[in-house]
Subunit: 336 residues, 2 copies
C-alpha cells in the first residue's frame, strides 16, 4: 500500500494541511512541527502523488513532443528540448508520428487529454486541421521545422533558403557552372521545397542554365541518395558539382558515385546539408551547411516556456543559425 499525505499526518501527529505546508513551503509552519513532519517523510521516503497535485494546479509540468521518428537528427532536437525542460522542472513525453498526419492529430488529442502544459510538434506538413484541433484544446504549441506564421503558431526552423543560395554562390566562386541538385520531397515545405526553390532561384540569378537531367528528387535516406545518383549518372553529361538536400542524401550519392568509379571531389563535387556527425567522418570529409539542431530544440522549448508562463508571446518566429562548413568534397576548378 502506498503512503498518502494522510498517513504522514497521522504518523507525525499533525493535520494533513501542515504536511502539505512543509512539503510545499507554502505557508509558515512551526519549527517543531516542520521537523516532526520532515523526519517522517525522510523515514518513509514519502513522495506526494503528482497526479493529485496536477489535478488541483491544472498543470502537469509535462511537455508533449511529437516527432516523425527518433533518429540521429531528432536525437539532437530531443536533447535540446529535454535539457531546457529539465532545467525548468518539466519532463517530456514522446510520441512518434511516423510522419503520418493522422497520427499527429491523434497525438495532439491524447496529449491534451493528458493535460500536458505544452506541445512541441516537429512536422513537415502542418495542415489547417492541425491548427483547428490545437485551437480547440487550447494547449500552447510550438512547431519545429516549418514556418507557421500564417496560422499564428510560433515556430523554430533553419532558414532553408539562404544557405542553399550561399552554397550555389560558393560553388560558382569555385568555378563550377554545370551544377545539379538532388532535392528532397517537395511536400516537405522546409527541407524539401525551400531548398529546391533556393537552388533554382540562385542558379537563375547567376544566369546559369540547369540541365533538367541534373535535377533528381530523393527521399531523405542514403538509399534514396544512392539511387538518385544512379539515375543522374545514366546521362551522358554529368554536373561538375552537386548540391544535396541533406548529408544523408549526399553520402548515399557519394557512395554510388565512388562505386561507379568516380572520384570525389576530383570528378564531381558534392555538398550536403545538416552537418550530421557522419559528415566529418566520411572521407573525403563532406562540405556542408551546419545546422545546430540541438539549438532548435532549446529554442523551441524556451519559446514554449515563454508562452506557457506569460500566456502571450513576443517572438512568433525564430531562425536558428547556420554556417557553411567548407571541407574536402568540393574541388576548386578556378578562383573567380
Amino acid at each position: 500500500m502506498k503512503l498518502t499525505i494522510k498517513d504522514i499526518a497521522k504518523m507525525a501527529g499533525v493535520s494533513v494541511s501542515s504536511v502539505s505546508r512543509v512539503i510545499n513551503n507554502s505557508k509558515p509552519v512551526n519549527d517543531e512541527i516542520r521537523e516532526r513532519v520532515e523526519k517522517v517523510i525522510q523515514e518513509t521516503n514519502f513522495r506526494p502523488n503528482a497526479l493529485a497535485r496536477g489535478l488541483i494546479h491544472k498543470s502537469t509540468n509535462l511537455i508533449g513532443v511529437i516527432i516523425p521518428q527518433v533518429n540521429s537528427v531528432s536525437a539532437h532536437l530531443i536533447n535540446g528540448i529535454e535539457e531546457v525542460a529539465a532545467r525548468n522542472g518539466y519532463h517530456i513525453i514522446l510520441s512518434n508520428s511516423g510522419s503520418d498526419t493522422e497520427q499527429e492529430l491523434k497525438a495532439l488529442d491524447i496529449f491534451a487529454e493528458r493535460q500536458v502544459d505544452g506541445i512541441i510538434l516537429s512536422s513537415v506538413d502542418i495542415t489547417e486541421q492541425h491548427v483547428q484541433q490545437m485551437n480547440r484544446n487550447k494547449v500552447p504549441l510550438v512547431v519545429v521545422g516549418q514556418k507557421t506564421t500564417e496560422y499564428g503558431i510560433p515556430w523554430v526552423d533553419v532558414d532553408n533558403y539562404q544557405p542553399v543560395a550561399e552554397v550555389v554562390r560558393y560553388l560558382v566562386r569555385c568555378g563550377h557552372e554545370r551544377i545539379g541538385m538532388i532535392y528532397g520531397p517537395l511536400q516537405d515545405q522546409s527541407a524539401g521545397l525551400s531548398r529546391y526553390q533556393a537552388f533554382l532561384d540562385e542558379m537563375a540569378r547567376k544566369q546559369l542554365p540547369i540541365d533538367p537531367a541534373h535535377l533528381v528528387e530523393s527521399r531523405f535516406t542514403t538509399k534514396g541518395g544512392y539511387e538518385a545518383m544512379e539515375s543522374l549518372l545514366r546521362n551522358e553529361s554529368v554536373p561538375t558539382a552537386l548540391v544535396c538536400a541533406s548529408d544523408i542524401i549526399a553520402i548515399g550519392a557519394k557512395n554510388c558515385a565512388e562505386d561507379r568509379g568516380y572520384l570525389i571531389p576530383e570528378d564531381m563535387s558534392i555538398v550536403g546539408f545538416d552537418d550530421i556527425e557522419l559528415a566529418a567522418l566520411v572521407r573525403p570529409q563532406l562540405t556542408t551547411v551546419q545546422v545546430n539542431i540541438e539549438r532548435m530544440g532549446t529554442r523551441s522549448m524556451e519559446i514554449l516556456l515563454q508562452t506557457i508562463e506569460e500566456q502571450q508571446l513576443h517572438t512568433m518566429e525564430h531562425y536558428v543559425d547556420y554556417r557553411l562548413m567548407v571541407r574536402d568534397s568540393v574541388k576548386t576548378i578556378r578562383k573567380r
Copy 2:
C-alpha cells in the same frame, strides 16, 4: 474554461455517471442516452482528464525511460520502446541522466512521484543504491545494458562476451596473430569490461601473445578512437588486426590510421561493434558485430509490460541476438 464531465452531463441532460459509462463502455447504457451523450461529446470535442482517471485507477499508462543521453544509438532503443508502448496504449516519458548516478537516482524518484506504471533504465553501472531505491517505491523496472540478475531485476542486454570471442576467432581464421584491441572504459560492465575480458580470454585460448602496447583504452567516441590509434601507432610494432569496442571507436581509429598513411585493411584490419548505420557507409565498409538495439527496446518494453500486467515475471534475463557482419575492413592473410 475547459469542459468537464459535469458540463457534458448537463448539456446532455443526464447524470455524470451515465456520461462516464458511455465514455468507458463500462456498463450497459440505454441507446437513447448513449446517443445524446455521444452527440454532445462530438460537438464539444470533449476529452476526459487523464489525471483524474489516473488518480482513481492508480495507473497512468506512462513509462519512465532513463537514458544517459539521446544519441544515435539510444535513438534506436527509444524507438523500440516507444513502438511497443504505443501499441499498448502507453506513452514514454524521458529523462537524460548524463550517465550520472545522482541524476539516475533522482529520476527514479521523480518518476515514482509521477506515478509511472514502469521504468526502463539504461545504465552502465547499476549500484546497490539504485536497487534499494527501487525496492522502496515499488515500481516495476527493467534494466537495459547491464546484467542485474543478482539484484533480482529483469534485464535486457547483448551478450558482450561471445561476439568478441567470435571476432577474435574470425581474425585468427583470417590468419592474424598479432591482434590488438581498443577497449572501452572498464567501469562499463557490459560494453567495457565484458568485451575486454572476452578478448583477453579468447587470445589466451588461442595461445596468442598480446603486446601490452597493443591494448589501449578509449572512451566511446570517435575522438577517443582517433587518439587511441595515435598512441598505438607510436609503437615500433603495430598489430595486423585491431578489435574495437565499438564502431564509433573503430571509425575514429580508422580515420587516424588513414591520416597517418596506413591503408585499411591492407596495412591493418579493423573490426567494430554495434553495426551503426555509419558502419556500412564508410569506406572500406566496416566489418563489425551487428546488434539489434531496437530489438533491445522492444524486448525490454515487452518484459516490462509483462511484469506490470502479471505482477510477476518468468524471464528475468534476456540476450538479444547478434551477428558478425563481414564487410571490407578485414584482410585475409591466409586461410586456416
